[in-house]
């Protein structure tokens, strides 16, 4: 299909979309006058039911826990897909680290890291890890949680790469460890779900003691699932990061002859 006909088809489609969108908006309450039953009910009962003060976490990991399990496995599948797509192909070889250092392929080698980046990166690694752990651990109390905290933790791995070398990144997050974290996190979520079955209730029912509202060890399975998700997200994003870096820095077309 030519460029112009593709664009014309787009404008035709947008016309249809615009009509449907306006039609859909007509059925919505005015902006700022939200009247959804679920949200308003949850705002009244959720803190008492789950002992979590962050209602977003309560919804994500308890009321909609089963849906989030599905989304968790979308994430898992995407990370596994990246790992499979970026593996060394038949006609390629992952060069050993020393070879990569020696190879004079200037176009693909990483640019030299400036001292300013090294110092700043080094200073940020500790606080980033601590902040990530804080965001994860307080996910059921304040904004944050396993998803966002896990990404912050994975950022620490990126800082290690920026500060040191690719080899240093591999040392703090070896592939086997990130893969393990990724799988344990995904499996851990499902395992917490089975606690509900063991207690004779439905899958993912919040059966653990709820603790005191506002305390760190409260909200039962929400806290546990939060931790599992953080392990999975941190592992998954570190794995994606490592795969892309490996692709850029190490994988070379195998020399023929």
């Amino acid at each position: 299909m030519s460029f112009n006909s593709r664009r014309n088809l787009f404008f035709l489609g947008m016309l249809g979309f615009g009509v449907l969108y306006l039609w859909g908006l007509k059925g919505l309450p005015d902006f700022g006058r939200y009247e959804g039953v679920y949200g308003i009910t949850l705002n009244k009962v959720a803190v008492a039911q789950t002992h979590a003060t962050n209602l977003v976490a309560a919804v994500t990991f308890d009321y909609r826990g089963f849906d989030t399990l599905g989304e968790e496995f979308i994430l898992f599948a995407a990370v596994v897909g990246v790992a499979i797509l970026l593996r060394a192909q038949r006609d390629e070889a992952a060069t050993a680290d020393e070879e990569a250092e020696e190879s004079k392929d200037e176009s693909r080698s990483a640019p030299h890291t400036s001292d300013a980046v090294r110092v700043l990166g080094l200073a940020l690694i500790g606080p980033t890890v601590l902040f990530g752990l804080y965001v994860v651990a307080h996910g059921h109390l304040t904004p944050g949680g396993g998803f966002s905290g896990g990404v912050v933790l994975a950022t620490a791995a990126l800082l290690v790469y920026l500060t040191g070398e690719y080899v240093a990144l591999r040392r703090v997050s070896p592939e086997s460890l990130t893969e393990l974290a990724e799988s344990v996190g995904a499996g851990g979520y499902a395992a917490v779900g089975f606690l509900g079955l063991l207690a004779g209730q439905a899958f993912l029912t919040n059966v653990l003691p709820l603790g005191t509202t506002g305390q760190l060890n409260s909200s039962g399975t929400i806290l546990l699932i939060n931790l599992a998700v953080s392990v999975e997200v941190a592992g998954g994003f570190s794995l994606i990061l490592a795969e892309f870096l490996e692709q850029t820095l190490l994988v070379r077309e195998r020399k023929h002859g």
Binding site: R6, Y34, I40, L75, A78
Partner: protein
């Protein structure tokens, strides 16, 4: 009554899709998809917003105080994480396409290589 958030969502959707349809570079296409996906965040959060209400975090506000809808916020949260990993997957595909075909231009990829 304000239509602005809904207009922003529609605009992000439109420009994102336009970018995808007319893209001449696969990396550009993935970024356009991210723009398109962000329209869903704006739409979801706009639907759940209540004028004068605070965030659904009952730490420093009394129980029963008006807060915005936590359900759409939870949807947006998982949505954004999944969007990030899907972008990574597509970028990985783009890397391999470039290796096999030597180009990032989708228009030059119409011939199937065995």
């Amino acid at each position: 009554m304000s239509y602005l958030p809904f207009a922003v969502a529609a605009w992000l959707f439109a420009v994102g899709l336009y970018g995808i349809v007319t893209s001449r570079h696969l990396i550009h296409l993935v970024i356009c998809l991210s723009v398109l996906q962000s329209s869903t965040y704006v739409l979801l959060l706009a639907i759940g917003y209540r004028t004068g209400a605070s965030a659904p975090i009952f730490v420093e506000i009394p129980p029963g105080a008006p807060v915005v809808d936590p359900v759409v916020q939870a949807l947006t949260l998982t949505n954004s994480v999944v969007a990030a990993t899907v972008s990574a997957l597509l970028l990985a595909l783009a890397v391999q396409v470039h290796k096999k075909a030597g180009t990032f231009d989708p228009d030059e990829l119409d011939i199937l290589h065995g």
